[in-house]
Assembly symmetry: C2
Homo-oligomer: 193 residues x 2
């Protein structure tokens, strides 16, 4: 996560994430963040709308992953395989490197805030990547004719988010990867002819 030690915003972000991972989100106050980053409340609220908005960087982390995947992925694979692969990679990333508490918070923020919702931004690398694959699949004629590229992209995103959401509210008591491996293929099958 961004950590320009020189500029105030960077200092705040890195102090915040350090504290979040060390003490948890709830047990970290703005006061703590401001103190640890040697800045001030005024600076904090100059750069961030709220405590929650610090979490946005989490969704940027996801997009970094998608940038990586976009290059890495074999263009010759069939669309369905690509989608399964992308799903697995996301879930691996989440299960291995993201604090579930913070993911819960990110999702909760999207429900309660009226502010920026980066996860939904159609210009995210995520949507570009999924849409691109939807187009390929559509051209290859594998998807139901009644479904537009948009339908497919949205449906995939909804289902993937649904899986993550469920994993979160269950407190990560099962393997997200395994769940994805089981259910995603079934879902995709439903989209196909």
């Amino acid at each position: 996560m961004k950590s320009n030690k020189s500029n105030t915003k960077g200092k705040i972000v890195s102090a915040a994430w350090k504290l979040f991972y060390q003490y948890g989100y709830d047990n970290t106050t703005i006061e703590d963040i401001v103190e640890a980053s040697e800045t001030s409340r005024g600076s904090f609220y100059h750069y961030f709308e709220s405590k929650d908005s610090l979490l946005s960087s989490l969704s940027y982390l996801f997009d970094d992953k998608y940038d990586e995947l976009q290059n890495e992925i074999d263009p010759n694979w069939p669309a369905i395989e690509k989608l399964k692969y992308i799903n697995q990679e996301l879930f691996l990333l989440i299960e291995n490197t993201v604090s579930i508490e913070l993911l819960c918070r990110l999702f909760a923020m999207h429900l309660t805030t009226s502010g920026e919702k980066h996860l939904l931004n159609p210009n995210r690398t995520y949507y570009k990547l999924i849409r691109q694959i939807a187009i390929e699949g559509k051209e290859a004629g594998i998807f139901k004719d009644s479904l537009s590229v948009n339908d497919i992209t949205r449906a995939y995103a909804i289902f993937e988010r649904g899986l993550m959401y469920d994993w979160c509210i269950c407190g990560g008591t099962y393997s997200l990867c395994q769940q994805g491996q089981t259910l995603m293929p079934l879902f995709l099958e439903g989209l196909c002819k």
Copy 2:
């Protein structure tokens, strides 16, 4: 929603919901609720863990609906038709009678609270009903053999919640019913042989 005007808990609940619908969740303080219900902060926190926990009654409302559906539904319908019907009825209820702000709050609460999560309770009428239908379908041999009754129940619940979650974060900018009508059949198809 419960409204025993005589007992303190009931007075609090009905005052709270009245205020939530009138002014919104955020614009209603505990102070307001306590004042309107002619009780006290102490009583409030005696009966409720937090402001959020007032929202639980919303998930009980859903179960009232399922109690109703359980009787109403034609036992001769095929399992898939039953699931589609139940889904439509839920989404109709939500779209017509539930404040989206409060639904968002309910879902957010499930993500952030460590307390009671009634939505997930396997003894909910909801799960009993879905499970019953999954059993029927399983016996009729319509579902993939690899899927257990539990798999089917869980998968259905995850997808349905995913649809609601998406509708919430999109701020209800499209018709939940229509979305369900389009996507639920595709999803169910994936579960079938």
